[in-house]
């Protein structure tokens, strides 16, 4: 254990942790939404994120940027980032909906056992990842620098960059918007109703299939935002980039209480911080283990997560 390093970098580790945690939280929302409504771990969600990163990359390349071009001026940057955001969100949502329609809906019609859903989810995840792997020759891709990183201010000696601020800010805004949507809007009420009791909701006139579709769209949109933030922050992608992120995001969702939107945010941020503290204490190699160990320990002692499982409030 390296306490000197840990305490010396404590503020910096916290800030990096929050930033990474924000991305986990956005991806975790997709798992949580689908789980809340369908009680299904949508393994393919990690690939929804991956598709978003590639879409951002290709959009920027289509706009004429590549790894070697200088970062664009503010106006052009804003346009490029917003176009990339739109494209990534659209592509991610489309991927999520495609998986729903092609893979899950036929199973629901046949009243397949839960195991069949899980197996299909795994299959879908691998098909998407491998299709991209084959298509891109399994090479990693660097992305154009859109926003050059610069330090805005320091907190307790730790530098805070504009990108870190952007990632956190966007996450909080998206989170608040989604929370309001689910809790206030008519469609959101439908989601909560189906999550609470699908059959009764159907009797009350809620179109179940449409709600499920909406849930996949929302999850996809959030994953698209996460993908763009990832592209801006880390600037690379690969066909299997979704796997670890997906695993961690799922851990984050369970940590906060799967099926609980606010729990996903809390879980994501906590996981990000915990990971970076572990990296500071034990060395960077151990960073990826933290999420997994946390998940197992949590399932042992508090399987419903920190905030409890509820998308439709009270659940049996």
């Amino acid at each position: 254990m390296n306490f000197a390093e840990f305490f010396g970098n404590f503020p910096a580790l916290t800030i990096t942790g929050l930033e990474q945690g924000a991305i986990y939280a956005l991806v975790a929302l997709g798992y949580t939404l689908v789980y809340g409504v369908l009680r299904l771990i949508n393994f393919a969600h990690s690939e929804v994120f991956m598709v978003g990163t590639f879409t951002a990359l290709w959009t920027w390349e289509a706009l004429g940027y590549n790894q070697n071009t200088a970062a664009p001026a503010f106006g052009a940057m804003l346009v490029a980032v917003l176009v990339g955001l739109g494209a990534a969100m659209a592509a991610s949502a489309l991927t999520a909906v495609t998986v729903e329609v092609v893979a899950y809906r036929p199973l629901r019609k046949r009243n397949a056992p839960p195991l069949a859903f899980l197996i299909t989810a795994i299959g879908a995840s691998f098909v998407i990842a491998e299709a991209f792997g084959v298509g891109t020759h399994r090479a990693p891709f660097g992305m154009p620098v859109m926003i050059p990183s610069e330090t805005l201010f320091t907190v307790f000696g730790a530098a805070v960059t504009n990108i870190q601020l952007l990632v956190l800010g966007v996450t909080l805004v998206m989170m608040a918007a989604l929370d309001q949507f689910v809790n206030r809007s008519r469609l959101g009420r439908g989601i909560r109703a189906v999550a609470q009791d699908a059959d009764t909701a159907a009797l009350m006139g809620v179109n179940k299939n449409r709600v499920i579709m909406l849930v996949f769209v929302l999850g996809g949109l959030m994953a698209g935002v996460a993908a763009l933030l990832w592209s801006v922050r880390y600037g690379y992608t690969k066909f299997n980039v979704g796997f670890l992120i997906g695993l961690k995001a799922f851990s984050a969702a369970v940590l906060g209480g799967i099926g609980n939107l606010r729990g996903a945010l809390l879980g994501g941020l906590l996981l990000g911080i915990a990971e970076n503290y572990a990296a500071g204490l034990f060395g960077g190699d151990w960073k990826d283990f933290t999420g997994f160990v946390l998940l197992v320990v949590l399932l042992m002692f508090r399987p419903t997560g920190l905030l409890g499982e509820s998308l439709g409030r009270a659940r049996a």
Partner: protein, 384 residues
């Protein structure tokens, strides 16, 4: 019985087979087993009159050593039979099955190799039981927190487990020596008639025979297990866990047993693999192999041992065979590149149209059919 309502040709043949006298069936089985034992021998094909060269693509895989392919296929079959206990009998989704395989292989490597950091040079035979026990324990450690919960948590935890094992193995300064790996793992013992060791480096045939024998023993054990109290409890859990619990089946205990036994078979397979390979590193255990084993079980038909065997054989042997065959018909097609993609698609399509697998277990097929009949009519969506 919904499954027998429409009797196909296959079902008729099966019926005729099971109507035959016991002696005939035993003789048939013995012939089949003998056939598998002589399969890797070259003289067998010369005897049958296949031209020797690159053209005899009947069974032979032309691009790689046939006995080695058979060994790998047998490894896959054994893994599928082991995973079938977890996925097929008990209905739990274990996505990290290769993790146990890796634990078994690494245990043997650590104990027997003089180049490992433990620096013990146990004989291979002594290391195998230890490997089995270690994998069982790791299965219990992994299963205890997760098996109490809903089944889907198990899937993700096991997936994470396999990935963590791989990540740990990839660390160069760790016990498992990362990419450099552990060389000089000892071979299984046993001299030939002329005094040379039976299990060498060049010839894969003895290893194939060894694992074939192990498979036969395991199959007998599994068949008995399936019909025992434990096996009935597993099927009850698969069909309806709550009902089983109410009827007095200690579900947690039996799920843990299934998990541990499945893990043990995986560990045993890993031990044999390490004994043949003599060198393992972190690249030997990729996550996609976990998925291939799962695909094998699903493809063959979860819940039956026959299905697991056929599925395991198909998923490994077919791509290898096709590599050589494709070359002959002028199609240069790298099956390894597309393997996961194709099997992923097969999994999705199978789950929709034939969830019971190619060689369905009768009981499991009936379960699916019953559920399908019970399906609530979906509310109609105007736009569809």
């Amino acid at each position: 019985m919904t499954a027998t309502a429409h009797k196909g040709k296959l079902a008729q043949m099966r019926q005729r087979w099971s109507d035959m006298p016991k002696q005939v069936r035993w003789a048939g089985l013995a012939a089949l087993v003998a056939f598998f034992y002589i399969l890797p021998n070259r003289w067998f094909y010369e005897y049958l009159g296949f031209p020797i060269g690159s053209e005899y693509f009947a069974f032979y895989t032309t691009r790689s050593d046939f006995a080695a392919v058979l060994f790998d296929t047998a490894v896959f079959v054994l893994l599928a039979v082991g995973l079938n206990v977890v996925v097929g009998f008990t209905g739990l989704l274990d996505l990290g099955y290769f993790g146990f395989y890796a634990v078994g292989a690494y245990t043997v490597a650590l104990l027997t190799s003089p180049a490992s950091r433990l620096d013990l040079t146990w004989p291979w035979l002594a290391a195998v039981p230890v490997a089995i026990v270690v994998t069982m324990i790791s299965g219990v450690i992994l299963g205890t927190p997760t098996l109490r919960l809903r089944g889907d948590y198990l899937a993700i935890v096991t997936l994470g487990f396999a990935e963590m094992i791989r990540l740990y193995a990839a660390r160069n300064d760790g016990l498992l020596q990362g990419q450099r790996g552990i060389p000089e793992v000892q071979h299984p013992p046993g001299p030939m008639v002329d005094g040379r060791p039976l299990f060498g480096v060049v010839d894969s045939k003895p290893y194939y025979w060894l694992i074939l024998t192990v498979i036969i023993v395991i199959i007998f054990a599994m068949r008995n297990l399936e019909r025992s109290r434990v096996g009935r409890a597993w099927v009850a859990i698969r069909e309806d866990e709550d009902a089983a619990e109410i009827m007095g089946v200690p579900t947690f205990k039996y799920k843990l047993w299934a998990f541990a036994i499945g893990a043990a078979v995986g560990g045993l397979t890993g031990a044999i693999f390490a004994g043949k390979q003599t060198f393992i590193n972190s690249d030997s255990f990729l996550l996609e192999s976990s998925i291939l084993v799962l695909a094998a079980v699903i493809l063959g038909g979860a819940g039956g041992i026959k299905g697991a065997i056929i599925g395991g054989a198909l998923t490994w042997y077919l791509p290898e065979w096709f590599r050589g065959f494709g070359q002959i018909i002028g199609l240069d097609f790298d099956t390894a590149e597309y393997r996961i993609l194709i099997f992923g698609l097969i999994i999705i399509v199978m789950m929709i149209f034939r969830p019971q697998g190619l060689v369905p277990n009768r009981r499991r097929a009936a379960e699916f059919a019953d559920r399908r009949k019970e399906a609530v009519p979906q509310e109609t969506v105007p736009s569809e």
